[in-house]
Amino acid sequence: MTEETLTLGKSELRKDAWDKVTGAAQYVADIPLTDLCHAVIVRSPLHYGRILGINKSAAQNIPGVLRVLAAEDIPGNKIFGPLLQDQPSLAIDIVRHLGEPVAIVIADNLETARMASELVKVEYEPLEPVFDPGQSLKPGGPRLHPEGNLAAQFDIQDGDIEAGFAEADVVLENTFSVPRISPAYMEPENSLARWNEDGLITVWVSSQHPFTDQVFIADALDLPVEKVQVKSAVIGGAFGGKEDSSLAILAALSAWAVRGAVRIVNTRNESFLAHPKRHPALIKMKLGAKRDGTLVALRAMSHMDTGAYASYGPAVGIIFTETLAGSYRIPNVHFETFVAYTNSPLSGAMRGFGSPQSHFALESMLDMLAAELDMHPLALRRKNMLRPGDKMFTGVVVNDTANSLPICLDQAEAIIKRFSQIEPAPGKTVGVGMALAAQSMGLGAKVPDDSTHRLEWSPDGDVYVHLGSPDMGQGLAMAAEQVTAEALGLPYEVVKTIPLDTLTSPNGNVTCASRMTYMVGNALIDAADRLIQQLLDEAARMMNFPREQLSYQVGRVVCPDGQKVDAAEIASRVADDGRTLQCESTFSFPYPEETTPQHLPIGMPHVIFCFGAQIVRVEVDPEIGNVDVTHLVAIHDVGRVISKPAVEGQIEGAVATGLGYALYEEMPLKEHQQWVDSFTEYLIPTTKDVPLNYEIIILEVPEASGPYGAKGIGEIPLVPTAPAVANAVYDAVGVRVKSLPLTPEKLIKI
């Protein structure tokens, strides 16, 4: 990139970092409020059961307890759900998963609330649970929801699958399984609410979608939305898992019920049991190819476990299905995906959103096919990769950003060569593997996706970004400030983000789907342009110059007589009039009608994709089956770098999560039918588990519709990691593990 930029692509410092390194940053659990009460949730001890009765009196009689609430105490809608209205805020008659909220105890201190919560006597009739999504859809089992156990189903075909397989010289068939994993952000879920004398409820959340929380709270309390103010606190990580309103609703309900202020903070254990996870899935895949490696047919039949409630399960099913063919051209496909209810903890949004699951199966299959054809895995991928102008099976025509794929493969070739020359440690067997990845951006066609943000020029010269979507820790605010500074020609330092408050901020929509830099950036570039026009209008009026004779230059208005007036000066005169110099802009994710196929279900197709590749070198201990990832290179196209450290940070963090997915993370049922529900048993990568030799290659193949060419990077870096590790392990020891995580037992068992 040769052109000079002001701040774009530079390593600016995050403005929220000062508060975070000094301990001053206020997360929900840190916000001090006077007369604060605490709520503790009474949770289901059963996976599935009927509630016969709830006796609140013993708890209610404890001194210090203000209220004990159950479903009957919710004045408005007792059920919520982002896609399907299926989730009771507090259980109604039935509990469908272990840890489901049944009642809530509010006391003037946490100890009392905890103690009293154990005294709420709930009588249950246990029912026989089902945990397997395939089993759950068979007739004769328990019916978990009135409409049945199928939360969503997708059946997508392109070409002629039978003819495709008939043409194939080689056909492979395999079944893959991927586990339930936890987003495991460090800050467990929480919420804080205060009922104010004027009837307004203020709710502080650690949430990716405060405007959605606002609607659900209003609905539950039967209040007009303007009576609910939702404020974004500092968010301690989210990764998709904080697209869930359950605690916001319960905190608001509690504050409303006691006419005071109430905080709820989940323990880690509650977080494991009762907050959305990554969907476990069973994927049956059949792949056909010609002898020369040309892929001709792909069939998949998959069952995803969405748990007791749908959460974002149906949408995850969409992206899973849409990414089953990965970054490849396959003329004949048939994909059937079933998203089933079970009595497992709910699964919903998590970084990658279906794509890590599909890629594990597909990218493993490709290496298996390469072995079968005696072809190099890179050559097989090169032969079949998408090129600009190709039609994907959804009918979407691939745009120019697919030009990043051959670059990824060329780089990968050199890296594989380099890795192969490194000597193994004594007693270890070495392998090198890679995988490509594709991740969609956006919520999908026919899903309304507008994102509004506002710029304000303050009389002190600072420009405020009223960001309509929360920064969940990834650095969205910095990206917004850099884009704004660039567009206004101002130093990064003077652009500042105002924390989200639904009463005063525009609605930027949920922070998710690898699209925030894209949405926010596009909206703010437009807002900046229009803010400049407004500034010139005001200046013309104030100084009595014809509007067309004024021009804008780095924070100033230039008058025909050469005089330069600071924007701050104009803003302050506008303020004297009791007005604000500000401008709002909405960007809508583009699904151009001419090019967006219309025959698919709502949420399909996605039209813009991110691409990337990862190459890993592993050392396997053949005796004990231990896998050590010694080297890793992540190659990712971001369209255009806004902030280099932030892009690297997204990749580094996602890759670590990808390694956890590959090697250790899973949340199985253990003895006595309890879920793994603590960091003692659920291991996430530590400093000692990330490879010492780590390299990031950032590509900048511009996305024409992106702000300065930028596109998303939040999710894709964890997509290729697990299959790349599996392929490397196969290369090392010749064992093909078809289920994640790749634990030592699986390697030595075979």
Binding site: A17, A29, M186, E187, G236, G237, T267, A656
Partner: protein, 159 residues
């Protein structure tokens, strides 16, 4: 439960407070002293390191320390690290290399790093990884955290 009295030093100031003996240092810091920099990320099981503070020069998980155990001890928390608005070199390095994302792990990681540098002023990357292996971070993949600690260490005068 009978309260106990504990007198200890916190960020250079002596405090005396009474508390139920079954409460942890983390609870006392956050609830009684308003020092909310130390966090709870694992439910007080000693698994996450988000609650790390320095007790008599050593990093401890404050969720595992009962209040009675701090009698006569000197405790340092993240709030005491930056004197008169100046960031400690570790804090500055974390800001400068971009080792802070959501920031929830950050106070604990920085305090663990400080204890590490007290003991080993010029650690290798391996030493840093070893020293911080009890501190979980889900955002950064630790790459920039290790960078930050190395940079802060390099800025210390060589002995």
């Amino acid at each position: 439960m009978k309260s106990i009295q504990a007198t200890f030093e916190i960020n250079g100031h002596e405090v005396t407070l009474s508390s139920a003996p079954n409460r942890t240092l983390l609870e006392v810091l956050r609830q009684d002293l308003g020092l909310t920099g130390a966090k709870d990320a694992c439910g007080g099981e000693g698994e996450c390191g988000a609650c790390t503070v320095i007790m008599d020069g050593k990093a401890v998980n404050s969720c595992l320390v009962f209040i009675g155990q701090v009698q006569g001890c000197s405790i340092e928390t993240i709030e005491g690290l930056s004197g008169n608005g100046d960031l400690h070199p570790l804090q500055r390095a974390f800001v400068e290399v971009g080792a802070v994302q959501c920031g929830y792990c950050t106070p604990g990681v920085i305090m663990a790093s400080k204890a590490l540098l007290n003991e080993n002023p010029h650690p290798s990357d391996e030493d840093i990884r070893e020293g911080l292996s009890g501190n979980l971070c889900r955002c950064t993949g630790y790459v920039k955290i290790v960078d930050a600690v190395r940079i802060a260490a390099e800025q210390q005068p060589r002995r």
